[in-house]
């Protein structure tokens, strides 16, 4: 078997989710090649070559891959994917956007968000917002799957010495153009990679009050997240949403503040090692998954927490 893993990167750095995806590839077994499609992404190729367990790194360096437009990257992935038994990508928004497109070009029914490898053709994945785990077997000749990063421990970023090969770019699909982006800038760790996450919900009442959480986060080196309710209400931007349709996190410590705990939110955080809930409603469903529950007004408890840390 031979597995093609699509690297997640920003043309400068290899993103952590790639290491979890390579771990899933290892669980399948076989030679693991990594594709770095980007523009001016040589450093990413070199980083990928150092990852433990990688046989070969393919670098497609072209301006058409600069912004990971799915129309272009999927074409390349489908062309290269024909030579592999498996094609894997992280289940990030980039992977989820591109991978099904590549699978359709290969006439393959992809498998989204795998959380376990049972055998080379059989995988587990959550459905119904994580309320049910399905074991799914693929009969396609090439298995195409996106990998939920939190379900696989990352492989070591160092220790490998794979060959780096450049591959030529596919034709420009010429149906889409990058216009611009507004990326959140923060000195705090990335939500999906943080060891500690503190999230706020509707109970925060407004965006200014998230300042209370930022103060605690800075003491703990934590990332700050939010429930859908808080994002929908406009308190904070969408990139902070944790849940079924937002980000999936599994930190060592997750602190839910003023979050009731809808199943769609639990789907995004219930694999955290330790969960703390602070909520004034003692009936809130969040307490049913919390290791430590504190029934209190968050506007008293959070500032006190900050001073005691």
């Amino acid at each position: 078997m031979s597995i093609l893993v699509i690297a997640e990167h920003d043309n400068a750095e290899l993103k952590g989710a790639t290491l979890n995806t390579i771990a899933a590839a290892k669980a399948i077994g076989g030679d693991i090649d990594v594709l770095v499609a980007g523009s001016g992404c040589g450093a990413v190729g070199e980083a990928a070559a150092k990852v433990a367990g990688v046989s070969k790194v393919l670098v497609a360096d072209s301006a058409i891959y600069e912004h990971q437009l799915a129309e272009n990257v999927a074409k390349l992935v489908a062309d290269l994917g024909k030579n592999y038994s498996h094609v894997l990508a992280p289940a990030t928004t980039t992977g989820k956007n591109m991978l099904p497109r590549a699978a359709a070009l290969l006439d393959v029914q992809p498998i989204s968000d795998i959380i376990a490898v049972e055998s080379p053709d059989t995988f587990k994945r959550p459905i119904y917002a994580g309320n049910v785990i399905a074991t799914v077997q693929s009969s396609d000749a090439i298995k195409v799957a996106s990998v939920r990063a939190t379900a696989f421990d990352p492989v070591a970023a160092e220790g490998g010495s794979a060959a780096v090969e450049s591959v030529s770019a596919a034709d420009d699909a010429a149906v889409s153009k990058f216009v611009g982006e507004e990326l959140a800038e923060s000195d705090r760790p990335e939500l999906t990679a943080a060891r500690v996450v503190i999230s706020g919900g509707r109970g925060m009442q407004n965006g200014e009050n998230f300042e209370l959480l930022y103060k605690v986060a800075d003491k703990l080196g934590a990332a700050v997240g939010a429930s859908r309710a808080a994002v929908d209400a406009g308190f904070v931007p969408n990139d902070m949403q944790v849940g079924q349709t937002g980000k999936i996190v599994a930190p060592d410590l997750y602190i839910a503040v003023g979050i009731s705990g809808a199943i769609q939110h639990l789907a995004g955080m219930k694999d955290s090692k330790v969960i703390v809930a602070i909520n004034k409603d003692e009936e809130a469903p969040i307490f049913s998954v919390a290791d430590y529950g504190l029934v209190a007004d968050l506007f008293d408890a959070v500032p006190e927490l900050e001073t005691k840390l």
Binding site: H67, L69, E71, A74, T92, T93, T94, K96, N97, M98, P100, R101, A103, A104, D107, V108, Q109, S112, P126, I127, Y128, A129, V132, I133, T135, Q137, S138, D140, V175, S176, K177, F178, V179, G180, E181, A184, T192, L220, R228, V231, P237, N238, D239, Q244, T245, L253, K270, V274, I275, V276, F287, S288, A290, Y292, G293, L294, A296, E304, K308, L309
Partner: protein, 249 residues
């Protein structure tokens, strides 16, 4: 211009589904079924584009057994002009749905196809991307803003790092994220009117599509249950527990 909107019949958002005791499937007997929330947002977006004068006709499509006509009627009550049901009792996987939609796109020639980014049952997040691949169209997935311009559409997408805007030439595929709009409620007169709007039926066979499943669900099971822990009396006890018991800070 014409817009095609795909809608899926799913177990209602508020129902907590469970696996059947024999682990073969989820138990959907006697549970409330609704239009997938992301599909509802797709219909709403199409209706708003029509109200702005950008769109002249909205065709709502659903696939599955007879009952999915209910979801097409919901879309018609929200403002779609006519419906198409692709009728089958067989299991439909996203690739098969994308192929059926492709056949309908070739027939209807819409300038825009709007779908939900994922359905809340399968959570696959695939169909829009696959339809775009099969038709060679550009894709604006996870949309939080859609602006149709002359010959193109600008789509702002919710991505992990924030927001990204792409411009796609028409025809194009858009998949909706939660914050694209807030769907309206269908008024009673519109629900009545919807019953009289045209609804055509076809089948995967008539569309020439092989819908044979490519994956097989071997088993479904509940996830590992998390035990509820303890309640702490105050912040001091919480900090103490996190330090000495959980050892996470």
């Amino acid at each position: 211009m014409k817009v095609l909107v795909a809608v899926k019949r799913v177990v209602d958002y508020n129902v907590k589904v469970r696996p059947k005791a024999d682990g073969t499937d989820v138990d959907t007997a006697n549970v409330k079924m609704s239009i997938n929330p992301f599909c509802e947002i797709a219909v709403e977006e199409a209706v708003r584009l029509k109200e702005k004068g950008v769109v002249s006709e909205i065709v709502a499509v659903s696939m599955g057994p007879k009952q999915c006509q209910e979801q097409i009627r919901t879309a018609l009550a929200l403002g779609a002009d006519r419906g198409i049901q692709v009728e089958t009792d067989a299991e439909l996987q996203p690739l098969a749905v994308a192929k059926c939609l492709k056949a309908l796109v070739e027939k209807e020639e819409p300038q825009l196809v709007i779908l939900g980014k994922q359905s809340i049952d399968g959570d696959n997040n695939q169909t829009g991307q696959m339809l775009a691949a099969l038709t060679g169209m550009g894709q604006g997935t996870f949309a939080s803003e859609v602006n149709v311009e002359e010959g193109s559409v600008k789509v702002t997408r919710e991505v992990d790092g924030g927001l990204q805007t792409v411009e796609l030439s028409l025809p194009a595929v858009v998949t909706t994220d939660l914050r694209l709009n807030e769907p309206r409620y269908a008024s009673l007169p519109n629900i009545m009117k919807a019953k009289k709007k045209p609804l055509d039926t076809t089948t995967p066979d008539e569309l020439g599509v092989d819908i044979a499943p490519r994956t097989k669900t071997l088993k479904v099971e509940p996830p590992a249950e998390r035990q509820a822990g303890i309640k702490v009396a105050d912040v001091a006890e919480l900090v103490e527990k996190l330090k000495s018991e959980a050892k996470v800070i």
